[in-house]
Symmetry: D2
Subunit: 318 residues, 4 copies
């Protein structure tokens, strides 16, 4: 099987760090470029974290570029109270000699896609501002893409709000642009994201082990989200965005349905990925009210232990 | 146990017919009045169906009044393609000598509530237009109510649209008014509504039996919703709105959670009952964006066979 | 000319006080009833102010009823910082022996309209909550109405917000219900409301004069709206809602156009009366996007000195 | 006075053609680049029209680049029924040897702004999609801009809808991004746009004259907008977008006010430039509801004959 050429769009972030490590280490994935966007952390911090994680992964020279400082329409919002000022929950990584490209994320994406020998898979692990800017500024890239795989959305409960997942909520207009682009799209949302975890004992053992990568991975897995100044969430051990990258190489363990989706841009539900899970249509169809939906593939269930195992195996931690 | 004094607000309709029969027949429920609203059928048809069903139930003289012809803001929409022109799927009921009150539904509700010896439970089995008009015109009734029990909404998938249940979708502003009224509220939504059914063989046997009520009940259970001019849905055998009345007398077989709820009035999700099922709050709390939610009790699961049994037992059909 | 039978719906308030005085005193107007709603002041205060103003006018026994405590959907909002805690800018009126009816505003309206010998003109000088409740609870009144005349809206600049006038902004859903009722409707909005004033010297002379009614009228005309705790607006001398009542008896001095209107319910412009003043339609027509507008008569200009004169003459102050 | 370095962003289009001719011919304006966007015509047609108009103007080599094919969120909509399939009302222009740049509009803008010796004025005469993409992809350009001058919006009546002007209505999110960019912004909207016209006789004489440019200008001035398949609007003779370019060199004949503005993104008024023209704030301020407005300079009135004269003089037609 030939490798899968990908561009990762990230807001590194604990979740993205795990995903980058996995993508770089997996033999079937060829990371052509990484683009950065503000989200879990400020853009500057995201770029810095991304470069340092590439060192941790002992990655070859992968071009990294800085992208959007803020969402299209939503006000810029700091997430530092959740993920720490550095977005990595305070995990200190050594300084790096790697530097970001001087071109913008959009230009690095465009160039990489247009120059690639095979259609590229865009893997979005963050608010989709960069992707939206790319697709509107350079619509010619659409037909050179294999597909877009994004971590985001939910067909059930949200996290940023009752119904909205963080990445989509952070820039709903960007997600609407991506969903309407006509590029085949795969959604790895909270329905599966919240399932794939490494058990606390295992993560602790990895964190305390001799392997340099393992110590970082263990610390990242052990990171607990801040709920407020005084409270942190319980241990989850989620492999996070890495699960969306697992889906590139082992889609067969997912339950995937092709469903109509629409991004909610108005109302209290702003940022919701409305997924139509009905067996029959309803009054919306009878009264001609249900237009402009996009059908995409959505991961609804996962063999969670297998993904956790795949993750650890790929990083040589099992 | 003393009886539970209730007012039923209905858009009879197959679902409501089953609920009225059950309520009238159950010894622990005292139906003080029935108010009608346009929804599944036109107001005129709803009143007619309601009076005739009271005959089927051999009910005592229960006052029935006509209410709102249309939703507060939504355009009036016919549902006759779904439930047939008569809202009862074409089941012919004999003419009745009963007549509706000359006062409006709102006035009948007001009078009944204010005159009742004990606090009344308002059971809304239809779009909540009448309740909203009552609560805004006569807010003094609120403190004389025991609680509001409504069939409607969903904490998961919708039916009228991907996320909206019919009764709430039909008049979202009315639902918002009811939810914000301060009256303790219990939601019996699609999460449970879609579970409680009589099996097809059993329903057919009841329909073919000797019991007069049974023949009607069997026909109602066998009714299949029209999806379009040419297609009908599969047999479901749902007892429908009757389940919400079962919840009055056997709440202990339900899994009930007290959750924050808000009615979506804007966007594509208009008519959604947004239920916050999260364990932790998210960015909405951190950024102070999540105000004005109302906590209500929501039925999330049900011992479905028990409710089907309770329904049939109460009607003497088991 | 026979008298014009009217019901006044008010949130008395300085503006409404002037309008009630004018309506009661004008020989061509027959005030059948007055209904009260929360707006410029709390409902309790509005009722009290209304009864007392009827004493000032030496009015016959006109039935007064209390209506809605709050808007349909909008949160209840106090306007006491604008109009003073009593809504009359602190003007003390003597206690009254008049009492309000025990029936609701909606019932008083219904009864008055249905019992009237000739079609009634509903004059709405306040947020239109009562009218909306009436039209949805008792739609049969619509065809017994001559027309609805409302003070509210604007075809140009707003006052509550940049584009929304207070009465419509306070309850936009109510205004949408009224506008969509099919009853012929006349809008007396800010375009004319802000023009009709009594000059400061004249008002001061009236306030200092011997006439008992004049002293009250002068004080009301001299009232200056509070902008904040520390600042009041400049003297305006507006006759306010009284202008809308002048329009009943002297419409010929108004420039009136029949225009499509829609109430903005969403977005930043919530509460705007969008009036289509274009000569030609635009992209909205070409793309079929402009449905569900209602054509109503709108006063766009007024012979302001004449209305000020009419007002003072009618009250015997000129 | 040194020349004013500008980039024109256009959707040529009759209006833009007049503006390009004026800008190129005026000695105080230095057109550094022209960027194209879909709007009045398809992107391909806009680029073609723009290159041909530069020939008409006998312009030096000005770089022209193609930009966005469609708005950010709004669906792509053809305006060919209004402006003819070619956007120039059927006026045939000779073929041109000029060709567009191979880089995107966003890149041409970025490069031109960053390389300019003096701060550049961005003159937007079309939907603001290109500007929005530039400002989000390359926010560093903001501080190198002198200001943004845009034709669009209205402080009074709209044209695309009752309240929305075409350029803003065509891409409201783009306008919101531009308005929120922090770059000093000047709005030349319908309030002045609809005033500046050449009289029909004068335009006819120019169209029939010997001057090659004059024949084109006369034909453009004589163009009448199609209202439907069968009807065209009356002659207006508007110089259109050229007025916004006049404002660069003769701002002193405008009445300009600095006012809070917000782009309506929701509701029926979507695309409206809500301008706060009030003397005092209202309930929005008292209740803390009026945040996130941007103050910009707005042209509210113009010495229309002077602008028409300036336009013709500059083109040597008077
Ligand atoms: Ca991420
Ligand atoms: Ca029902
Ligand atoms: Ca008033
Ligand atoms: Ca243009």
């Amino acid at each position: 099987m030939p490798t899968i050429p990908v561009i990762l769009d990230v807001d590194t972030g604990v979740d993205d760090a795990l995903a980058i490590l996995f993508a770089v280490k997996h033999p079937d994935i060829d990371v052509l470029a990484i683009t950065c966007v503000a989200g879990n952390a400020s853009l500057e911090q995201v770029v810095d974290n991304t470069l340092k994680i590439l060192d941790v992964a002992d990655a070859p020279a992968i071009p990294v570029a800085a992208g959007a400082l803020r969402p299209l329409i939503e006000p810029a919002r700091s997430a530092s109270h959740v993920h720490g000022a550095d977005g990595l929950g305070g995990i200190q990584l050594p300084a790096t000699a790697r530097v970001a490209e001087t071109v913008s994320a959009v230009e690095l994406m465009r160039r990489t896609i247009m120059d690639a020998e095979r259609p590229v898979t865009l893997v979005a692990l963050a608010p989709q501002t960069n992707l939206a800017l790319l697709l509107r500024t350079h619509p010619e890239v659409a037909e050179k893409l294999e597909r877009i795989v994004f971590m985001g959305g939910s067909a059930s409960v949200g996290n940023a709000t009752a119904v909205a997942e963080f990445n989509v909520w952070h820039d709903p207009e960007a997600a609407a642009i991506v969903l309407g682009s006509g590029v085949p799209t795969f959604m790895y949302g909270l329905d599966v994201f919240n399932q794939v975890a490494v058990e606390q004992d295992a993560a602790a053992a990895i964190a305390a082990g001799d392997d340099a990568v393992g110590r970082i991975v263990g610390a990242l897995l052990g990171n607990r989200v801040a709920l407020s100044e005084d409270a942190t969430a319980q241990y989850t051990g989620l492999i996070g965005d890495a699960g969306a990258v697992c889906a590139l190489v082992e889609p067969e363990t997912l339950r995937i349905e092709n469903r109509p989706v629409r991004i909610e841009l108005g109302g209290y539900g702003r940022g919701q990925t409305i997924v139509d899970m009905r067996v029959y249509g309803g009054e919306d169809l009878l009264h001609g009210l249900a237009e402009e939906w996009t059908n995409i593939d959505i991961a609804l269930d996962v063999d969670a232990p297998r993904y956790a195992e795949l993750f650890l195996e790929t990083l040589g931690l099992k």
